[in-house]
């Protein structure tokens, strides 16, 4: 009876999961379908999943009308630099917060979480003025600076979890064997932290890759703009849109995030659960 119950419960869980997957996947699958449809099929009263006359015209138009390769390169530079710098700064800080627990580090952790609730709009004008004084408006360096500052709290929060998951006994054993503080960090702690650092860097990368608002406000000239900003150029007044090329460009812009997220999703879960149970 209990076996039967658990089987039916399991089947229910799978059904719910499948439903949720369909719900999540639908927009993306529809985006792919739209990207390969000719304009006349986009206006069809009976749209089909599989394009009847698949075409690459939308991709051609998208590349022809907007500087997508340049925008992708800008996004890539900004996201990579932001991820690397954020992790370089956050890793030692996370180590300190994890290993030297105090009221201060607890308060810091709380503040990190609270800070995520600040709306972009609240910060954009002061940020804009600061960057203007530094002559960093309309430069990728200015944008990278903002991305680093924006990614730091979450990177810190993630890395604290990873550091706590590394048993202190290992570091103690290394020091008993005669290793100094630096040697212990480099030879024992860092290798164990590496997967977490990579996951954190990739998360910072995705955040920066997808970011729109700061890039919109801080970058002016077409050759500096990032991919999310360039995508808006396919949208006109009153919500009218050049749907085919927009879908094609959006599909291409989504791919890196999908790939990266597929790589790191397990590690993110691991980080959140790390240290939850004392062994």
């Amino acid at each position: 009876m209990s076996l039967r119950t658990s089987r039916s419960a399991r089947a229910g869980q799978y059904a719910a999961l499948l439903g949720y997957l369909v719900f999540l996947a639908f927009p993306f699958l529809w985006l792919i379908s739209t990207a390969f449809k000719p304009a006349r099929e986009l206006g069809s009263l009976h749209p089909t999943w599989i394009p009847e006359h698949p075409t690459l015209d939308n991709f051609r138009k998208a590349f022809d009308e907007q500087p997508l390769p340049q925008a992708a390169a800008n996004s890539l530079i900004a996201a990579l630099c932001a991820a690397v710098v954020a992790v370089l700064i956050a890793t030692p800080m996370a180590y300190v917060m994890a290993r030297h627990r105090s009221r201060l580090s607890a308060a810091t952790s709380g503040w990190v979480v609270v800070s995520q609730a600040f709306p972009f709009v609240l910060l954009i004008i002061p940020l804009f003025l600061i960057l203007k004084h530094l002559h960093l408006i309309n430069t990728l360096w200015g944008l990278i600076m903002v991305y680093v500052v924006w990614a730091l709290p979450f990177a810190l929060w993630m890395l604290v979890g990873y550091v706590r998951a590394v048993p202190t006994e290992l570091e103690e054993a290394a020091s008993v064997d005669g290793a100094g503080r630096l040697r212990t960090l480099v030879s024992v702690t860092a290798p164990l932290l590496a997967p977490g650092i990579v996951a954190t860097a990739l998360f910072a990368f995705i955040t920066a890759w997808n970011e729109f608002f700061f890039a919109l406000v801080l970058l002016k000239t077409p050759e500096k703009q990032t991919l999310p900003v360039v995508l808006t150029h396919f949208i006109g007044a009153e919500g009218a849109a050049d749907l085919g090329p927009l879908a094609a460009a959006a599909f291409l812009a989504t791919l890196p995030s999908l790939v990266v997220f597929a790589i790191i999703q397990r590690r993110i879960t691991g980080s959140m659960l790390a240290g939850a149970v004392k062994s």
Binding site: A39, R40, L42, I125, P153, F213, H233, G236
Partner: protein, 432 residues
């Protein structure tokens, strides 16, 4: 404690950035050789339009070596926030492309230059007074209105012919009563006479309301504006409401749609007519199935005739620009009659300029251009676009009230109470 984290990060990044950047330009809008640099932010988004804008910038730069214009691509979707931030940070483009209904806050905020002394007489005289009214705020003129689009009926030619209804022309349009009757006749066999895409119900209702003599917003002698619903104000919303709820000749499902969303149903013969902005013809041309025949009809009229409210696209100059005179010169170049025609065709819209409107290229029946041109001189400033408090009235009062009214959830009395009573309370806060 997070502040130190961010401060440290910012300090490191700043030091790095300062090492990498060094000193920037002179800040007076000139490059290293003393050449004047002007940023022109364009919101063109359709390929033909972008090409036309870029080509005109290229032509200007070739003929004006001392004043170089940089084309900056903006987006309709985000222009307000982006401009606001740029103005606050003193980094706005010199020449700004926008729409007249977005200018009020910028004009009253002192961000835009008063163009009255900057524009040449040719351009001022070429654009009709009613168009200038859309960009006049207080005593100043803060933009040059250059492209506009009326709302027209895009109709399925085959269905119209089969039904035998009278085909309206700009010289002899349908009255609102006749329009209601026609949509009843066109309804049946799984088809609706009309589909009203009313995702943005306020602008449609107010702008078309002018044709029936509606005004809703009444300025007083003291300069204060009050909302009053009179007989003319009831005709357009009343017609739409009755088509949806009484005659069932308008598709209820279209009420929440944007213009583009109705096109598949239109192409599929589900709707005989769709009231859309003039520029939607471009999407119809691009997406209509092979052999699909369509036509452009003027919107129905009442006591106001072919009048309609519009919010033209505009070109403005930033008050902070160090080169206002040169920016205005560039606008003048951009809006020479032949150039205005190129911009209009690129955007599938109508030019405001009298000379451009007379261009033979626009007087063709192909794709309904001539119908648009015929109603162009009747276009008026959209009601209330310069009334302070209008955006709040629109978002918080009028949009939900009209949506409920059109869907049949509330009656005319309740609609009137909300638009007028609640509306005047909103306006009062802005007009103390």
């Amino acid at each position: 404690m997070r502040a130190p984290v961010r401060t440290a990060a910012a300090a490191v990044a700043t030091a790095l950035a300062l090492l990498l950047t060094g000193c920037a330009g002179t800040g007076d809008g000139r490059d290293g050789n003393g050449r004047i640099e002007i940023d022109f932010q364009s919101l063109a988004w359709q390929k033909e339009s972008v090409d036309a804008n870029k080509q005109l910038v290229k032509e200007w730069n070739e003929t004006h070596p001392d004043i170089h214009v940089n084309y900056v691509q903006g987006s309709w979707d985000t222009v307000h926030d982006q401009l606001l931030t740029s103005f606050e940070g003193d980094e706005a483009p010199d020449v700004i492309h926008d729409a007249s209904d977005d200018l009020a806050d910028f004009a009253y905020g002192g961000y835009l230059a008063d163009l009255r002394t900057l524009l040449p007489g040719r351009l001022t005289a070429d654009i009709p007074q009613q168009s200038w009214r859309t960009t006049t705020f207080g005593d100043g003129v803060y933009g040059v209105p250059f492209l506009q689009e009326p709302r027209v009926l895009i109709a399925n030619t085959e269905i119209l012919k089969e039904s035998g209804v009278r085909i309206p022309t700009p010289g002899s349009p349908w009255s609102w009563t006749e329009f209601r009757q026609v949509t009843k006749e066109l309804t049946g066999k799984g088809r609706y006479g009309v589909a009203w895409p009313l995702k943005e119900p306020v602008s449609v209702t107010l702008n078309l309301g002018l044709s029936a003599g509606g005004r809703l917003f009444h300025p007083g002698a003291d300069g204060k504006v009050t909302i009053r619903a009179e007989a003319g104000d009831r005709i357009v919303p009343g017609t739409i409401h009755d088509q949806v709820n009484t005659d069932h000749s308008a598709a209820r499902t279209a009420l929440g749609m944007g213009g583009s969303d109705t096109l598949p149903g239109f192409f599929g013969g589900k709707y005989a007519m769709v009231p859309l902005g003039f520029s939607y013809r471009q999407q119809v041309v691009e997406q209509a199935p092979e052999g699909f025949e369509w036509t452009v009809l003027p919107a129905p009229v009442g006591s106001g005739g072919l009048a309609q409210g519009v919010s033209p696209q505009t070109l403005s100059v930033s008050e902070a620009s160090p080169h206002k005179k040169e920016a205005a010169q560039f606008i003048d170049f951009l809006l020479r009659p032949q150039n205005m025609v190129r911009l209009a065709k690129g955007d599938w819209m109508l030019p405001t300029g009298t000379a451009a409107l007379a261009d033979p290229a626009l007087h063709t029946d192909k794709d309904g251009w001539s119908t648009g041109v015929a109603v162009a001189k009747e276009l008026r400033p959209a009601p209330a676009q310069s009334v302070r408090g209008y955006p709040e009235w629109k978002d918080k009062v009028a949009t939900p009230a009209l949506q409920e009214y059109y869907s049949g959830a509330i009656g005319e009395g309740e609609l009137r109470k909300r638009l007028v009573d609640d509306g005047n309370r909103v306006l009062a806060r802005y007009q103390r």
